[in-house]
Symmetry: C2
Subunit: 188 residues, 2 copies
DNA sequence: GCGCGGCGTGCACTGAGTGCAAGTTAGATG
DNA sequence: CATCTAACTTGCACTCAGTGCACGCCGCGC
């Protein structure tokens, strides 16, 4: 997986997403993608490990963005609140990306299962940060909290009407977080 | 996908799981499986949609088991408690299966991502039941609660040392559920 | 004996993914 | 200017997953 050129990377991904949003995931072969992108089949696999990777791999510069978002969290903030705000910030920053992905997923519902791992790399970064920050908590506690936050996002995403924009998504996210932190959520 | 014979089904699955626990998922081809099971390649795909299906598809009689477990829940029980008890009952009933799956996942860590969908069909059944039972709640509320319960299980499973048996798994499950329903869980 | 339907199988084909070796280009060095 | 090298790209050949189709076998009712 030796790639140096972010332009080629974008070129491939944009071609792929374009075709897939139009025809659906299954109806687009890797050959279609490389023809559209003007590269060879072999080069595709030098950039992406598989066919889904072109949808779910993070942008090359994403890790830096994540680091900024994470660094922006104030020190004393409760972890749950920090996760809530991180998701808001993340979805704001990655707005066009999320919208593009939704379009593809709308055209290819069979990918719904894979869609959970959309932001897995992001969550890994969050996990690393949290375990340093809250060194007093157990790994299990932190993982539970983070996975639950991730679940809120994943639960809410399929209900998101792309036409309502990021504001609409934020309303859903807030609703999810609020529901889970209301005192009586376990007694319904 | 026309299959009538549960014996053949078990035969294929047992052959596959045996080989995979031994060599790892990637090192076992479908041809290996069908050779071991004594059937043709084409028949394999009449029973299972893909290579992973042989690991993650439910047993033919599982839906009946799930229905029993679900029917056993008392009427007034809070949904969160019901989900907790359902998971305990499910893992008890599917003990050997879960242990087998852990063995394969131990041999093939690359499947960790897929392992989340281990019991997806079970959760679908739970979802259907809950939306009838708690018709007053919104779909979003129910999905959040159920997905969170599912997350507890998925968070806890990788930490389970198979040698501690189902009792050890239940300790982890209880710990997860208790953590999330403790009043101060959002303020760490 | 005859049709019929369910199931298993062989065959041929598409498409994903990989290892290897050769080609290309750009920059560093003499 | 010649050339060496390292990074990147490419073509080729191969394995394996997955599918459509048609045929064969067997048990069943008539």
């Amino acid at each position: 997986m030796r790639q140096r050129s972010p332009e080629t990377w974008r070129q491939i991904r944009d071609s792929a997403v374009g075709l897939m949003a139009e025809r659906g995931f299954d109806a687009v072969s890797v050959d279609d993608i490389v023809a559209e992108a003007g590269i060879s089949r072999r080069t595709y696999f030098n950039y992406f490990a598989g066919k889904e990777s072109v949808l779910f791999d993070p942008d090359p510069e994403d890790p830096l963005l994540w680091a900024e978002l994470i660094a922006a969290r104030p020190a004393g903030e409760p972890l749950w609140t920090a996760l809530h705000q991180l998701i808001r910030a993340y979805t704001t920053a990655a707005a066009e990306r999320m919208i593009r992905q939704r379009l593809v997923l709308r055209a290819s519902p069979e990918l719904a299962a894979c869609s959970r791992k959309v932001c897995d790399r992001f969550w890994d970064a969050v996990r690393a940060w949290a375990s340093q920050r809250n060194a007093d908590s157990t790994e299990l506690q932190l993982d539970l909290l983070i996975n639950t936050a991730q679940t809120v996002l994943n639960t809410v995403l399929p209900r998101w009407d792309v036409d309502t924009g990021i504001a609409g998504l934020h309303r859903l996210i807030d609703e999810g977080f609020t529901l889970l932190q209301s005192p009586e959520w376990t007694t319904s």
